[in-house]
Every structure is written in C-alpha cells, then in structure tokens.
C-alpha cells in the first residue's frame, strides 16, 4: 500500500509541474478571452512555435558562443520573447482586427484555421524530423524524503507561479490592467472613457503570445522529442481553462493543476493497480470536463452570466 501512496505522491508532483504548463496555456486563453471575448484555439500552436523558435535560437547562440552555458539559454529566452511580441502584433492584425464584430462561431473557426495553418507551416519549415531539445538544468534532481523531484519540474512550477502573480498584479493593480478589464466588460463604453481599445487588444495578444512562447520554452525539454504533436497539448489545456471557468485567472491555475495531476496519476500508478484505467487514460481529462460541465456549466470559478433579451 505504501508503494501505491509514494507512487501517487511522486506522480502528483510531476503532475503539478505538467498542470502548471496547462495553467500557463490556459492563462493565454484567459487573457485573450477576458479582453476580447475571443476564444483562441491557436494557443497550443503558439506554444509549439515558441518551442521551435527557442530551439532555433539555442542552436544559433551555441554556435556563436562556442558551447552551451547559462547565458545561451538566457539570450535564447529573451530573443524568443522578442519574437513573441512581434508574433502577437501580427496575430492581432490577422485575427482580431478584421473579425472584431463577427459572431463567436466564425471567430472560433478563424482561430482553428490559424492553428491548422501554424501547425502545417511549422511542419513544412522544420521538416519531418523530430528535434531533441536541450534542458538548461540537465537531468539533475533533488531528493526529499522518499520522493525525487527533477529541477526542471521545480523551475516550471516557480516560473508559473511568478508569471501568474505578475498577471494577477497586472490585472488588478495597474492602469493598463484595469483598462483591459473595462474593455472586456464593454468595449464601447471603454472607448468613450478614453481607453485606447485597439492598443489594449494588441497588448492582450502580445501578452498571450509571450505566455504561449514561455510555456513552450518550459515544456520543450520536458518532452523527450520536439515535433508538431506538441500543439495537441493546447487542446488538452482547454479542459483546464474551462474546468476553472473561462476568464478567471485563479480558475485557470486550479483547473490546470487538477487536470495535470489527474492525467499523470491515471497514467502512472493507477493504471498499474487498476487495469481498466489504462483503456481510458488519454480521455480521462475529457470525461472529467464533461462531468464538471454537466453540474456547473460555467466551470468551477466561472460566474454565470445573466441573460438579457
């Protein structure tokens, strides 16, 4: 029995790290949704593009510096973030500007088509071979009690916490954050109050791209191989965002962590002890999502909207 328990604990920690990645992707959804009411299905693809771009920069800088060291990773990260800013501005021009007044359905389809385009374009440019990303922390681990934590997981968790904190602070305390909140509540009224709505939208897309790229940079070394299937993790982050209630930052975190834990635990220890879980472990996330939505249609932290005619 203690075998089961320590296994569960071990996997829970690795699940929290995975959940933090989900939470970061979900944060990307949440940011865009909060300000523009657009659901961005391409967030997973933005993450994938970020991972690829970071890989490209790492290899370039390694060549320039003549070897791998901490500065290479830092420089690559900063360049990737710079890329994300550009990427966000471009996405704002392609998706957000022309479709500002379109119905929800067409915006969702537009982001889906963007996702398809990004995925196939990346596959065409990068070629069919999977890349092997390098982790800045190597394989080092920390032992605490009976369980082993990899430094990478720890770094992911810390990064996620810092980013979440930053965004929470940004949304609630700064002028721009409050402008974003106002824009999401009523964009016309916000414009009348003198808020530059277009700039707010652009900023939101830039932020979402930055979050996406950072989550891609963090996730890439956690997966052994880097290829375009990584973008499907974006689909998996959707249940996380919805579980917590779309448009709520704490909801995204809690939803992400819950799903991360459920997924790792059901893939690991539980499927050794209960054979039937093996059959469903890649859809268990969706089963949980549908079950939650049946009971609370607006997610765990979502606020039910009052319907007006």
């Amino acid at each position: 029995m203690s075998d089961l328990l320590s296994g569960l604990l071990q996997e829970s920690i690795s699940g929290i790290a995975l959940g933090c990645i989900y939470a970061l992707i979900a944060l990307g959804f949440t940011l865009i949704y909060k300000a523009t009411e657009v659901v961005n299905f391409a967030q997973g693809e933005i993450m994938m593009v970020g991972a690829y771009v970071n890989f490209f920069f790492v290899t370039q800088f390694t060549g320039m510096a003549g070897g791998l060291n901490g500065w290479v990773f830092l420089a690559a990260l900063l360049s990737s973030i710079l890329f994300a800013v550009l990427f966000g501005i471009i996405l704002d021009y392609i998706i957000n500007r022309p479709l500002k007044d379109a119905p929800v359905f067409s915006i969702i389809m537009a982001t889906i088509s963007l996702a398809i385009i990004l995925r196939s374009l990346t596959a065409m440019i990068a070629g069919p071979i999977s890349l092997v990303p390098v982790s800045p922390f190597g394989d080092s681990t920390i032992k605490a009690g009976g369980i082993v934590i990899s430094v990478l997981d720890l770094a992911i968790i810390i990064c996620a916490i810092i980013l979440m904190g930053l965004f929470f602070f940004f949304f609630n305390k700064t002028r721009w954050g409050i402008a974003m909140k106002a824009t999401s509540a009523d964009s016309e009224a916000a414009q009348l109050m003198g808020i530059p709505v277009k700039q707010v939208y652009r900023m939101v897309w830039v932020f979402a791209a930055i979050v996406g790229v950072i989550s891609g940079v963090l996730l890439a070394p956690r997966m052994a191989l880097l290829d375009t299937t990584m973008s499907f993790l974006g689909l998996k982050a959707f249940p996380a965002a919805i579980l917590g209630g779309f448009g709520s930052i704490p909801g995204a975190v809690v939803g992400g962590i819950i799903l991360g834990i459920i997924e790792t635990v059901s893939m690991g220890t539980l499927s050794f002890h209960f054979a039937w879980i093996k059959e469903i472990n890649d859809i268990i996330v969706w089963i949980v999502l549908i079950a939650v939505l049946m009971i609370r249609p607006d997610g765990l932290f979502g606020i039910a909207k009052v319907k007006r005619v």
Binding site: V39, S106, I116, I283, I287
Partner: protein, 343 residues
C-alpha cells in the same frame, strides 16, 4: 403546402437531378480514369449527407459541433457490426443505424441544454475523443485499432459491386437528404430552430420548448450523420479509427462554412468544393510547389484548407452560396446596381 417555396424558381431542380444521374455516363465517355473520379464523387456524396445534417444543427439551430466525425464513426461501425456480425440485411441497417446514431445525438443534446457556445464545441470535441477511444476499447466487435473489413452492400437483391453502382445509390440518398432537409427548414420545426439560433430567450418567450427542439436538432443531425456512416462503411470496405480524426470534424465545419452557413445548398456546394479541392487541385499545386521546396503531403493539405477557411471567414462570411446570391442580384438589377453594395 402551397406557397412553401414561392420565392424560389423550382424549374431547374428536375433538370439538375437528371444531370446528376447522367453525369457518370458523361464522365465515362470523357475520361479513361472515370472510376477514380466516381469514387471521389461518392465520398463527396456521403459527406454531403453529413454536412447537410451538420448545417441543420450548426447553421440553423446555432449549436456548435466539433465532434461530427464521431457520429460518422458510430454509424460506420454500427452498420459494419450489424450487417457483418449480426447478419442483418443492409436495408434494415440503413434504417436502424441512423436511429441508433440519432439516439447518441440525443445523449449529446443533454449537455447542450446547459452548455453554450464554445463550451458546447469543446464538449462535442471531447465526445469525439471518447468515442474514438471506446471504439478501440471494444476490440472484440470493432477490431480495435487494427480496423474492420466491411462487406459489400446489397440493396433489394442487387449487390453494389463497384463505384459505378454505388454512385447511383449514394446520389439517390443525397437527393433525398437534400429534399428532406429543405422540407425541415421550411417547416414549423425549421422555424423553431432558426428562432433558437437568433435568440434563445425570445424563442422561449414565444413558446418554443428549448429542450425539445435542441434535442431534436441533435437527433436529426445524428440521423443524417448515421446515414452517411452506413454509406461510408460500405463504400470504403475498410474502416479504422484513423478515418475519424478530430481534423475530419473540423473539415466538416469548414465545408459548411465555406459553402455558407444556414443554407442547405451552401452545405452541398461547400462539400463539393472542399472534396474536389482536396483530391484534384491540391495534388496539382503540390507537384508545382515541390519543385522549389520539400513538402510532405500530410502538411500541405491542412495548410491550404486553413488558408481557404481563414480567407472565407474574413472576406466572404456568407460563403459560396452568399457569393452566388450576390452575383444573381447583381445581374438581375444589372444596369441600375449601386456598386458599393456588391463588393
């Protein structure tokens, strides 16, 4: 019944139907590889039946479905199991399978009563994943991930031997499906659907039972998809879970969207456009482009589809059918057309 289609010119419909039946003969005399084209047209016909049903659900009732490939999968597997393993005749499977799939639609309709917009889209997407996994798990009947061989269909003693026979069977059903869908749209049921799409609250206030009509919409859409599934299984003779990817569900939505939401003819046009594009023009493009850069077939096709969809959503939200309507009005008013309205 009088006056149901007063605003439309019905004269050309019999001509079109005759043209559909004469087309294979034309094709046979025109090209040597007509069998390949017939197969593509058959697949297009199957998809038309499905997208017409999807249009009733998404275009007319406003309920989003990203899991229609799952309905197709359930239809295909149910029919394969019923005909090959339970020994039922094909005609009976044509009736029973759509009803079973429709009942699955009913089950998905339950969450639709509470879940809206993209939440519903994701629920149906999750349904798609779950169905795919369940098909693999039930490997005693479905053959798991290895796939399943399906026998040839035989309708009232006539065995459907090849794509030539199949064309006439499928397109008979396609014509029936279009007629039925148009009758639904013009009936009380269709008007209730459209009222729900335009405003749920207003519809409810006018005495439309939301629960009943939403479930009915899913049920009807499931019927169409189940029918398509039966034909799919017996046209391809081999089905596996790889056929029913999430990407296929998205393609179905693309077909409806490119053709024009909320019009039955639009769904037909969009499906034909996408299927012909996929099989005729994209290979041509690819051959041209691959001289300059290295391209994998599996990447290029989604790329073109995504591009087409994005262009249509941004520049032509009404789709092909909307384009056609605009063109018709333009020529009707020809010398006196205010230019700005038709850009």
């Amino acid at each position: 019944m009088k006056g149901r289609y007063v605003d439309e010119n019905l004269k050309w419909i019999p001509i079109l139907i005759i043209a559909v039946y004469l087309f294979p003969f034309l094709l046979k005399s025109a090209t040597f590889s007509y069998k390949y084209y017939l197969y593509i047209l058959n697949m297009a016909g199957i998809y038309i039946i499905l997208t017409v049903g999807l249009d009733l659900l998404s275009g007319f009732t406003g309920l989003m479905s990203l899991g229609h490939a799952a309905f197709l999968a359930i239809g295909a597997y149910t029919s394969a199991i019923l005909v090959d393993q339970a020994g039922l005749p094909f005609e009976l499977s044509l009736i029973i399978t759509p009803i079973i799939v429709g009942l699955f639609g009913f089950v998905i309709g339950f969450p639709a009563l509470r879940i809206e917009g993209m939440y519903l889209g994701l629920t149906t997407m999750g349904f798609g994943f779950i169905v795919k996994r369940l098909i693999i798990a039930l490997r005693e009947w479905t053959g798991g991930s290895g796939g399943l061989q399906v026998s040839k269909a035989s309708l009232f003693g006539i065995t459907i031997k090849n794509d030539w026979d199949n064309y006439f069977m499928i397109y008979t059903f396609v014509i029936l499906a279009i007629i039925i869908a148009r009758r639904i749209v013009k009936s009380k049921l269709g008007r209730a659907f459209m009222a729900i799409r335009d405003s749920e609250q207003a519809a409810q206030a006018s005495g439309i039972n939301l629960a009943k009509y939403k479930m009915l919409s899913f049920f009807i859409s499931g019927l169409f998809a189940g029918f398509a599934g039966v034909l799919f299984a017996h046209t391809n003779h081999f089905i596996s879970t790889d056929h029913f990817d999430i990407l296929l569900s998205i393609y179905f939505i693309v077909m409806v969207l490119v053709g024009g939401m909320s019009s039955i003819y639009g769904a037909v046009l969009g499906t034909l456009f996408i299927v012909l594009m996929e099989n005729m023009f994209i290979p041509l493009f690819k051959d041209g482009l691959s001289q300059y850069m290295h391209i994998e077939a599996g990447d290029f096709q989604p790329f073109i589809f995504g591009l087409i969809m994005l262009i249509f959503i941004i520049f032509q939200p009404l789709g092909l059918y909307g384009m056609w309507l605009k063109m018709r009005i333009y020529w009707k008013l020809f010398p006196f057309n205010p230019r700005k309205r038709f850009t």
